[in-house]
Amino acid sequence: MSVIKLTGGRVIDPANGINDQVRDIYVKDGRIVAALADGDKVSAEYNVSGRVVMSGAIDMHTHIGGGKVNIAREMLPEDHRGDPVARTEVTRSSCGYCAPGTLAAGYRYAEMGYTSCFEPAIIPMNARQAHMEMGDTPIVDTGGYAMLGSDDFLLRMLVANEDQKSINDYVAWILHSTQTLGIKVVNPGGISAFKFNQRKLDLDEQNAYYGVTPRRIIQTLTRAVHELGVPHPLHVHASNLGVAGNVDTTLATMEAAEGRPIHLTHIQFHSYGTEGDRKFSSGAARIAEAINRHKNVSADVGQVLFGQTVTASGDNMSQYRNAAFASPKKSAVMDIEMEAGCGVVPFKYKDQNFVNALQWAIGLEIFLMVEDPWRIFLTTDHPNGAPFTTYPHLIKLLTDRSFRNAMLDTINPDAKAMSNLAALEREYSLYEIAIMTRAAPARILGLTDRGHLAPGAAADIVVYTENADRERMFEKPDLVFKDGELVVRDGKVVKVVRGNTHVVKPEFDRGIEKKIEPYFRRFHSVRMNNFKISDDELCECGGGSKLIPHACGKRS
């Protein structure tokens, strides 16, 4: 039994309404407890007086595992050469800047105070690989969202006008079979359309073969996720990613949810207008206004930061188009197993490039204009907008207006002129940063024991020395505890532990397998029983990760 005491820290715990109060925190066997029981003996006490204490940060959208990420790693030896992670007494060697190995990713996340990371685009057939990669991502908890919407099984159900209950059963079956925490839809129906040689698909445009529209897919899946009681709303990568004028598509996509919860991911890439000489402008104001008005809508930003990165997406329709802009000039595009696809395109965002600079400004505009920090999330869509290691820099941009404006003065002047960023005075407080990186992601994912510091919570705790330079503060915490173990001291991993895997297990009628099993036999490349991942197998994939199921309160 281990008992830890963190003494005298300034606790910032928005989930429990605590803003900068001096409190002692007790940890017993990996969990936060209110006080010590008789006979408990503190095995380690840390005097953290004057220092800022938060729960471990949660990245709710980061591409850390699965086929496309591994393609990116293989594709970019030139990325890795300059960015090695040296072996130490406790850590293994690894490497990679924008496409790091899982070991490097886990160490670096932990060293920034992140203790949970969620892979947002798991192709069901590829779930095993995603769990294996996440299992080899040390220290942090993981989980993922299963991709549906371009899978032929669902599209056939829609064509056959099957009832919502059957669809809900299928969706639940996918969540169970892939051991995931939510459902993601990527360019709804568009990945399928690309296989039929369609090169674009608007929200109300029909798939050439199925006749199904993206709107219908979103309606059906938001409803399914909601009715199944899955905590996390449908995670939507909307149609027309990156296309000038897509702000209209994005606003229409919000409406398509018909008031049900919907999460729009990397919304920066979906907030483009067509004004100005170059027919490319910021749609941030309209997007922020819509989010402020629609309480059912949440979003993560997918901020762009300048430099070399690689874009990895399930949206192979977009990525095939983007391959023309690859830098360096190489790209991988795949159609995958009647379910989805992927595209990997290296990209360099340049501050003197008008479009890139405006993308940067649009992301920040959205951050600053969305009023409720509980519904907007701090992401770069790692590695699509920038590698996750840029988060401390992003936090500084959000918390420090003069720094932000100084940066704004250095970007492409035409882009600067097209942005209202300079007029936005908001500076995020530490409390708001804690909301968007801890409390809110835990809440929107249904992680009841993460993202806060109340008794019963898992002891994922980070201690920072406050620094007016928030980039310095957040890039190197003093202490990081994972499930009560000290894993990082002074920004360096001192102990490697294995994180847990978060999943949901909604109730459903197993009779759906009578439809699914023959489909697999007739059309798929594997048998249904070899597709499903059992709990035991998940733990093996995860290299021994503990499975943490989260409750679903069925709503239909």
């Binding site: 690989q129 690309f194 040689n197 795949m334 029983n529 070899n530």
Partner: protein, 430 residues
């Protein structure tokens, strides 16, 4: 996992003996050896029969003498610790085995090299140099209307390709499978499987396969609407090449299939580059995809795990404490030949036929592996998908299949052995 409690037949078994990883096998576990009684192919039958016994009598050996597993692992740890540059070769492993070997290799400052890496690194070079446009087997099964096999018949290495993915009873989309068009580029191939169920023979461009660059150069030139220097490239009338190009342009979902190991080694990446050039040209107006098949002997298990853990593909040296990728110089054969390694550790749980190089001082393999020389340490291991559960990446990268435990054994898995050596190594370090 049996059909009924009394049956000794296990169904829906995934096969780890080639890159297709067919998962529809029925395996009878009643006898001394495992018997494939449904699905499968000759290679599967032989593999399950040969490896599917318990091998309980096999023991580790040190210096040719029986030794305990612990003693043998300690001896390996001592050797890799003392080695100036250890190499971990073979690597016919499941995912779990590879994961543990990676930890060992890093701790030992070694290099990891799969037995197919000499082809594999050249194949990987394509994604590093230009990327690709590819598809996976289920897509082929339902969509492909024109399949061009470039320098390979596939079936010599992966026998059920046509049976499982081409000549199916039905497909989700047009055309009906039987109407698919099959083209072989290259002679000396087993083209029988390419004949359609209704007796339509495949279209074979018969030429010496070492001359594949000429064929691909012709196709790319014609696709680009450019001239070629010959009236009959490779002795085949230009009109036939032109007709193939027209067919590719007209196809809705053509698939160009290759197996990197079927190309001349020096041509591997250039030929795949050339195929990708054709595929990209076709995708301007229609859909076309490459399909590289491989993955036998756990090739993809090794390459995938290596890439995700370290960032780099195999043939990376961990000697200096940071990963250094050099596929040209870190091949086992070269390291041995140039005297750069003093310790080759051969680890192979799936392959008991490929002999380790004579320089391998440590062999960790099934007891059925025939050794020409007694290594200094031999540790017999069980086989994934036969003796223990595991995971296996299919050769198209489209799926990782779960492997079953069908036969009990007292032999340890390669993963367990590697972990034991790593633990010993850290003891030695500490």
């Amino acid at each position: 996992m049996t059909n009924e409690a009394s049956s000794t037949v296990v169904t829906e078994v995934a096969c780890p003996f080639c890159g297709l990883a067919c998962d529809d096998l029925s395996v009878d576990t009643a006898g001394e050896a495992l018997a494939v009684v449904g699905g499968g192919c000759a290679k599967a039958q032989a593999g399950f029969a040969r490896l599917g016994v318990s091998h309980d009598g096999a023991s580790a050996r040190v210096g040719g003498q029986p030794a305990s597993l612990e003693a043998a692992c300690a001896e390996v740890a001592r050797r890799v610790k003392a080695s100036a540059q250890p190499v971990f070769a073979g690597m016919a492993l499941d995912v779990g085995g590879m994961r543990e070997v990676m930890e060992l290799a890093d701790a030992a400052g070694g290099v990891v090299d799969h037995l197919y890496s000499e082809i594999g690194w050249r194949s990987t070079r394509v994604v590093q140099d230009v990327g690709y446009v590819t598809t996976t087997l289920a897509e082929v099964k339902n969509r492909a209307d024109l399949i061009v096999l470039v320098g390979t018949d596939v079936v010599s290495k992966a026998s059920r390709f046509f049976e499982r993915y081409v000549w199916n009873d039905e497909a989700m989309f047009e055309p009906a499978p039987a109407a698919r068009r099959i083209v072989y580029l290259g002679g000396g191939l087993n083209t029988a499987a390419g004949q359609s169920p209704d007796g339509r023979a495949a279209d074979v461009f018969d030429f010496d396969r070492a001359r594949m660059p000429e064929a691909l150069s012709t196709l790319n030139a014609l696709l680009a609407k450019q001239p070629v220097s010959e009236a009959a490239p490779l002795g085949i009338e230009l009109a036939r090449w032109q007709a193939l190009v027209e067919a590719l342009r007209a196809a809705k979902y053509s698939v160009l299939v290759w197996m990197a190991g079927d190309f001349e080694p020096a041509q591997v990446d250039l030929n795949i580059n050339a195929i990708m050039s054709a595929v990209r040209a076709l995708n301007v107006t229609t859909r076309s995809n490459g399909l590289g098949l491989g993955g036998a002997d756990g090739e993809l298990n090794a390459s995938m795990v290596h890439a995700w853990q370290t960032g780099y593909p195999m043939r990376t040296s961990f000697a200096s404490g940071i990963p250094l990728y050099d596929p040209v110089h870190n091949g086992t054969a070269r390291l041995v030949e140039q005297g750069e390694t003093d310790t080759v550790v051969w680890i192979s749980a799936l392959n008991d036929k490929t002999p380790p190089p004579p320089e391998a001082k440590v062999v960790i393999a099934p007891p059925t592996l025939k050794l020409e020389h007694e290594p200094e340490v031999f540790i017999p291991v069980s086989t994934p998908g036969v003796h223990h559960v595991g995971h296996f990446f299919r050769g198209d990268k489209g799926a990782a299949l779960p492997l079953r435990a069908l036969r009990a054994t007292r032999l340890p898995s390669a993963a367990k052995v590697a972990a034991a050596i790593t633990a010993q190594l850290k003891e030695v370090s500490a």
